[in-house]
Amino acid sequence: MNDQPQDFPDAPVAHDADDAHAPEHALIRGLIAHDPSAAAHDRRMKALHAALAQDSVESTRALRFSLERWAPIALAAAALIALALFVPQRETSAREQWDALARSEGAAGSARSANGTTMVERWALTLFPPAIHEDRPPLSGTLEVLDDTHFLVTLTMPDGKVVTFARDGDTVWHSDRTDFVSFQIPRGKGFPAPVWLAQRDGTLLVGALGSMLERFDSRYAIAEVADSTQPGLRCLEAVRAVDGDQLPTAARLWVDGDDHVQRMEVEWDGPARGAAGARDPRDRRGDRAPPPPSPAMPGGAPGRMLGGALGGVPAGAPSRMVLERAGAVELAPGRFSAPANARPSMVPPPPDRSRS
């Protein structure tokens, strides 16, 4: 997540205390940034309801909270809310939950439209470096995705340069850290289906969340696991149960009470480690092996997001990818389109003067 102070310089930090207008300006910022929609309100309340329902900490002080002293209108409202927010006991298996999420998120990816406005899902994206370079800092950025063929990824390189990787229908384009923009037309059916996968050759492919979830099929053991790192969210984990160096080793989903995936982590590791329970999922660093060599991706790589030429970042797949839902943004015309100065990818980029 992009939360460095320089990214949000008007956030209320220490130096603002000397500014008489700082509190008022902070408040204005909060007023604007706040999403007042009923959907956001309901999502927040349902998540809270689920969190409260599963909160097993017994508080005797809470029990002292006497309902009798509250106005009858509050009681009536409470009853209505209890009815509206009633969540039935979850009896489906973890696999069924995962598949249902794949279907619902897949449908949502192309149907975010209200009042004639198309909305695009926005995710905060963090990529952790390959295991052999785990001393390097993670890369953060954003992913905006409408569906499998319309998305845009931005990543901030360690030197502050921002690279972009996007797909607009059949056109895939990227801008590298030298601001050189190139595009290429995928070779028909040979183009690999875009999914959220980081290939071993350093290529990152993204797409709609539903498509990604579908990839965690019978080759993965799925379980609902205990996790307290994300309050109010339940956690599903898919652990690879078969050999397959190109496959993610594990994935975890954090799902809110409204059955929306709020956070996702995908890990790439060494050889298959067996079924669920073979390893503590929080032990992400202990047994990682260097990534094996990989054949070139069929159809040509649409963008080597982690390649050294693009950002001084070591080549290789990330060891971990974290996606956190960051709301939806209104789709602006041409949001996914290549800039006018894009060139065919066969044209070599101009010299990178910053490296000389």
Binding site: I32, A33, D35, R44, I81
Partner: protein
């Protein structure tokens, strides 16, 4: 692998929880505005909101019912935000005195109900329409879409200092406009 137990916590008074949810629902918008004022980004704000409400529920017995719920829960949210900032080692850290000052600013809205508060938001929208086009673009990208400043600068073809100035002027204009409409003290 331990499985999480599903279902409701045992022994919790369901009525207390339901009434708590009523209070939160009535104050959720204003609480979120406060949290958005003191945090960076929507995801962080959502996390602070959830964590704050859980803390508030556990401490419900400490709540003085003769006083409004909003300031009490904002105090909890401020402490949660500070604790998270310290854990994340964000530098510079959020200023505690500023958190109190923002909360004091919000007391002007504590007495009005949720429906009436909608009129404040409507006035904000009207005031935003009165901003210059450049300011509107900055506000839309930086605040509504949570896009980092350097990306906003890149998107609008300006440097970061220019974007910061535009945002500062936009905030000042909005404050003046809201005051003129009686939505800000």
């Amino acid at each position: 692998m331990p499985r999480r137990e599903s279902g409701h916590g045992s022994g919790r008074d369901p009525s207390a929880r339901e009434v708590f949810e009523v209070l939160v629902r009535e104050n959720a918008d204003r609480t979120m505005i406060y949290i958005r004022s003191i945090t960076r980004g929507a995801a962080e704000a959502d996390d602070v909101f959830q964590e704050s409400m859980l803390v508030a529920f556990r401490r419900l017995g400490d709540f003085d019912r003769s006083r409004p719920f909003g300031p009490w829960v904002r105090g909890i949210a401020a402490r949660v935000a500070l604790a998270r900032a310290r854990r994340a080692a964000q530098q510079p850290i959020i200023d505690p005195s500023l958190l109190d000052a923002v909360s004091s600013q919000m007391t002007q809205w504590d007495a009005i109900d949720r429906i009436d508060f909608e009129s404040v938001l409507q006035k904000l929208r009207a005031c935003m329409d009165a901003l210059t086009r450049d300011q509107q673009e900055c506000v839309q990208l930086a605040y509504r879409q949570d896009i980092p400043m350097r990306e906003v600068a890149a998107a609008l073809g300006a440097n970061e200092e220019t974007i910061k100035k535009r945002l500062q002027r936009a905030r000042a204009s909005l404050a003046e406009c809201l005051r003129a409409h009686g939505a800000l003290a």
